[in-house]
Symmetry: C2
Subunit: 256 residues, 2 copies
């Protein structure tokens, strides 16, 4: 069983070795720029940790893990565009559209999304790509509620925007490991709690979202509740979940 | 065997009955706005005609045909954005971003692309969605060459931007009909010729692209050659290709 930082190294190595469609030509540079962002790789690490805890070989889950990260990266590239959040910086570097131009960034986001499906379609089981599609549509729906202010319930927006991809990271790990559907429930509940934990801590660090709505103390309570819920679900799973507990701990106390 | 206009009616009815992911919420309105555009539905009709000529039931090919049209529609919504072609009108109506806002149109394009994959993933055979992914990446690569002027050879750009989706329309029709790979060659060559014919006539009508590069007469010769090539390939196929011949004729003489 690999530790979380070893899984992250495996993700980095795999992402770095991805072969994109040759027809993308020089657009590939923008895909790589967006992917080489120094992100935390939380979602793919989660996917790999679930797969390993479920008895899969790391290699069997790497395409699925990378697919999740590519969907996440596509969403960042498009979110940063002037038409949406208009963010000039991403993790201390110029956003993709600032570095390479708006039109190119738009196309690079599109291409990342399709490359994610190409990875998910490396599996003969179509459920892998189906789960990715469903989660991505949920994420897009959450983003739409967010920008139109059609967000009656912040928790619901965040469940879509962030939670769906976390649950899919878990789901793809289970599918890569061949875990039968009837055993997915607890695992997916864990993904849901972890997604909430991640988002609330994010908002505390940024001073927006849940932190703005509930105050820092209220948000901290919500985060603690999600961490507790995540640990409780893990405790009920018949698997060595030590790496997943490490992930919960890491997300609960992170400062960046 | 249905005529081309009957196939088009079937496409319209199927597109109108599509059920999108409920999480898209009100974003669905923009997807439908973009889809209800009065387009010619050339690609999905081609897909259905190939499937029927290959012995498939219409119903078996409709999801694949719709998937192709959704990818095409996604590309139009994104192409029209200010970051790319900045077109305010599309077929006599305001473009999606003019009607519903830039951010919403961007997300609607993303959602159309993912819904296309959801349709392709209705098939147990993962090759349907794989072919869609490969063609879409080719199309995006062509679009990138187009906007960056990295288009040494116009024919190559158009082969990617238009041709790839035409060939995929043929390919998905073959896959939906269960035609063995070894028999795909001629059919796909037909898709390639038809895509070229479509694009050259488009350029003649718009006075750009091939018409600008070769002059109207030169472009007309190229279109005639493509139509001739398409008919020649059809003649060599062991199938009733009368509807496909009707398609060639319709594309060769179209005036809008």
């Amino acid at each position: 069983m690999r530790r979380a930082d070893e899984l992250r190294d495996a993700v980095e190595a795999y992402l770095g070795s991805l072969v994109f469609a040759p027809e993308l030509g020089r657009l590939e540079k923008t895909l790589r720029y967006a992917l080489d962002s120094g992100g935390k790789r939380v979602r793919p690490v989660l996917c790999l940790a679930v797969a390993e805890a479920s008895g899969a070989e790391l290699e069997a889950a790497l395409p699925a893990a990378a697919a999740i990260e590519l969907v996440h990266t596509f969403s960042l590239v498009h979110d940063d565009l002037p038409a949406l959040d208009d963010d000039d910086e991403r993790r201390g570097r110029p956003s993709a559209h600032v570095a390479h131009g708006e039109g190119v960034a738009l196309l690079a986001g599109d291409a990342l999304l399709v490359e994610a499906f190409r990875l998910a379609l490396a599996y003969e089981d179509p459920r892998v790509a189906r789960e990715l599609a469903d989660a991505t549509l949920g994420m897009i729906g959450g983003q739409h509620r967010d920008i139109t202010g059609d967000d009656g319930e912040l928790a619901e927006v965040e469940r879509l925007k962030t939670g769906r991809l976390f649950v899919a990271a878990v789901g793809l790990g289970l599918l890569a490991a061949g875990v039968p559907d009837r055993e997915h429930g607890g695992w997916r509940a864990f993904g849901e709690e972890l997604g909430l934990l991640f988002q609330v801590v994010d908002d505390i660090l940024d001073g927006d979202g849940f932190a703005e709505r509930l105050g820092e103390e209220g948000a901290r309570e919500l985060a603690d509740g999600a961490a507790k819920g995540a640990r409780a679900v893990l405790g009920g799973l018949a698997a060595d979940t030590s790496v997943l507990e490490e992930l919960v701990e890491g997300l609960a106390v992170r400062t960046s």
